[in-house]
Amino acid sequence: MKILFFILLLTLLTTKAFSIGPTYDHYLYVCDLGIKANLNSTNIGVDYIRFKNGAKQEKIIGSYINKMFRGEGRDLLKRDLNKQLSDIEINLASDYKGAQFSIEYCYHWVKKNQSLNFYIANIDITNPDLLELELSKKVSCASINDVGVKNAQDFTANNFSWELGQNQKDLFCKIKFTYKERFVGELRDYNLGDLKILPIINIGVTP
C-alpha cells in the first residue's frame, strides 16, 4: 500500500505532462525606466537613474538639454530571469525639486495548451503614500486570441479582474508608475535624502 502511494505521489509531482489543468509561462519584470529634470530649473545638476542590466551597470540621465523621458521607447525587456533589471537607483542632484521618473513593469502570460478557453487576469497593486513623491499609475493590458485578434483595455483601479475573451493565448500588461517630486521649484537640500519605494504588484491569470 505504501509503495503504491509513493509511486503515485512521485508521478504526480514530477510529470507535468500529466498534471491537471493548463500550463503556461508568465513573467513579471521591470521593462522600462525614465527620468527628466525639472523643466523650470535654470540651475540644475544631474538627475539620473543607475541600474543593473543583468551584470552590466547602466544609466539614464535626465539632462538639462533633453528634458524628456529618455527611457521611453528603450527596449529594456528582459524576460530572462538572470538578466532582469535590478539595483535601480534614482539619483536626484538637480538644484530644484520637481524631477520626474518612471518605472514600468511588464507582465507577459503565454498559454501553452488548449485545455481551457476562458481565463481571468487578476491584478492587485499596492503603493504606499509618500510625502515627497506624487504618484500616477497607468495600467494597459492586451490579449490576443488563437486567430490573432487583439483585445486591449486600460485600467485605473488598483485591484481588478479582467475576463479575457474566448480562446486567448497571450496576455501582455504594462504597469507604469510615474513619480513626480512634490514641492516643485523648492531648492533641494544638499543633505542626503534616501528613501526606498516598493510598489507591490500581484498579478496572475487563473481559469
Partner: protein, 298 residues
C-alpha cells in the same frame, strides 16, 4: 489514500496558477549642489595714510555641509599691518603686492579652514541679514572680499558612473547707490572688482586656481566698477573647471570628475586713494553667482 492523492493534485494546481509579485525595491537618493556665501574679509593698503576703522559685520548660521556648526556673528577689522589671511594664489598676490596696491593681509569673519561649515546671513532662509561693510578710514584705500563656497552634490562622491563637469556661468556684481546719496561711492573710490576661484579635492592632493581670463597685469585683473552698474566677471561661455584655458595654477582634476569643494572670492578694491567723504554713502552691492553641474556629453 484518496485524501493524500487529493492534496498532491492541489499542490500542482496551485503551482500552475500562481500569482507573480515584484520584489525589486527602488532607492531614491537626493542631494543638490550647494552654493552659498561663507566668508568675507577686509584689508587696508599698507602704504596709505589711512586711519580710522574699516570693518565687516556679519551673521552666520550652520551650513548644510555641517548642520551642527551653530550660529554666530562677529566683525572682521582691517588694519594696515595686521591680518590673518594671505591672498592665496601667487599671481593675484604678486600683482597686489607690487607697490601699486599693497594689501598684505586680510582679516576674515571666519577662519578659512572652517568657513565651509557656515553660511553667511542674507540667505534665502534668512533674507533680512546682510553682510555690512563699514568704511571709516581717511582715504579710499580699503579692500574687501566676499567668498562663496561650493559643495557638489553628495551623490557625485560615490558614483563614478556619471562623468560630470562644473561650470561657473555667471558672476555678476550690481552696485546700487541709495537714492538719497549726494555722492557716489563707487565712482569716488574708483572701486574695482575681480574674482578668483579655487577648487580642490578633499585631501588637497589637487588644487586648481582660476580667473576669468589669462591675467598678465593689474589693469586686466581689476574691472572698474562705477556707480549703479552691473559687471559680469565671467566670460559669456562660462568658466569651466578643468579647462586649462582659465586655469592659473595647480594640478589637473581627472576628466569628468568634480572637485570636492570650491570657493569663489569676489574682491573689491578702492583705488582712488583720495580722502573719504564725511557724508554717509550707502550702497547695495548684490552678487549673483550661477554655477551648473552637468553630465558630460548631455
Amino acid at each position: 489514500m484518496k485524501k493524500i492523492s487529493f492534496i498532491a493534485l492541489l499542490l500542482i494546481s496551485q503551482q500552475s496558477f500562481a500569482l507573480l509579485s515584484n520584489n525589486i525595491s527602488i532607492r531614491v537618493r537626493s542631494s543638490a549642489n550647494y552654493l552659498y556665501p561663507c566668508n568675507a574679509g577686509i584689508a587696508e593698503n599698507k602704504d596709505s595714510i589711512s586711519k580710522g576703522v574699516d570693518y565687516i559685520k556679519g551673521f552666520w548660521q550652520a551650513s548644510q555641509h555641517k548642520p551642527t556648526a551653530g550660529t554666530g556673528d562677529g566683525v572682521a577689522v582691517g588694519g594696515a599691518n595686521s591680518g590673518n589671511f594671505d591672498i592665496d594664489y601667487s599671481i593675484l598676490g604678486s600683482l597686489l603686492g607690487d607697490g601699486e596696491l599693497a594689501f598684505p593681509k586680510f582679516n576674515t569673519l571666519l577662519p578659512e579652514v572652517s568657513m565651509f561649515d557656515f553660511e553667511l546671513g542674507g540667505t534665502p532662509k534668512n533674507p533680512s541679514q546682510k553682510v555690512e561693510i563699514n568704511l571709516e578710514s581717511d582715504t579710499f584705500n580699503a579692500a574687501y572680499f566676499v567668498t562663496f563656497c561650493f559643495k557638489p552634490s553628495k551623490l557625485s562622491h560615490n558614483d563614478d558612473g556619471v562623468k560630470r563637469e562644473l561650470i561657473f556661468n555667471s558672476a555678476r556684481i550690481t552696485h546700487s547707490a541709495v537714492p538719497t546719496n549726494t555722492k557716489e561711492y563707487a565712482t569716488d573710490s574708483k572701486l574695482k572688482a575681480t574674482l578668483d576661484i579655487k577648487c580642490r579635492t578633499k585631501d588637497n592632493t589637487i588644487t586648481q586656481f582660476y580667473a576669468p581670463s589669462g591675467i598678465s597685469s593689474l589693469d586686466t585683473l581689476l574691472t572698474l566698477f562705477p556707480e549703479n552698474t552691473s559687471i559680469e566677471l565671467i566670460p559669456s561661455n562660462g568658466l569651466k573647471i578643468g579647462d586649462p584655458s582659465n586655469m592659473l595654477s595647480g594640478d589637473f582634476l581627472p576628466y569628468g570628475s568634480l572637485p570636492d569643494e570650491c570657493r569663489v572670492r569676489f574682491y573689491f578694491f578702492e583705488t582712488s586713494g583720495v580722502l573719504r567723504d564725511h557724508v554717509l554713502l550707502e550702497s547695495d552691492i548684490r552678487i549673483d553667482l550661477d554655477a551648473n553641474v552637468r553630465a558630460i556629453g548631455q
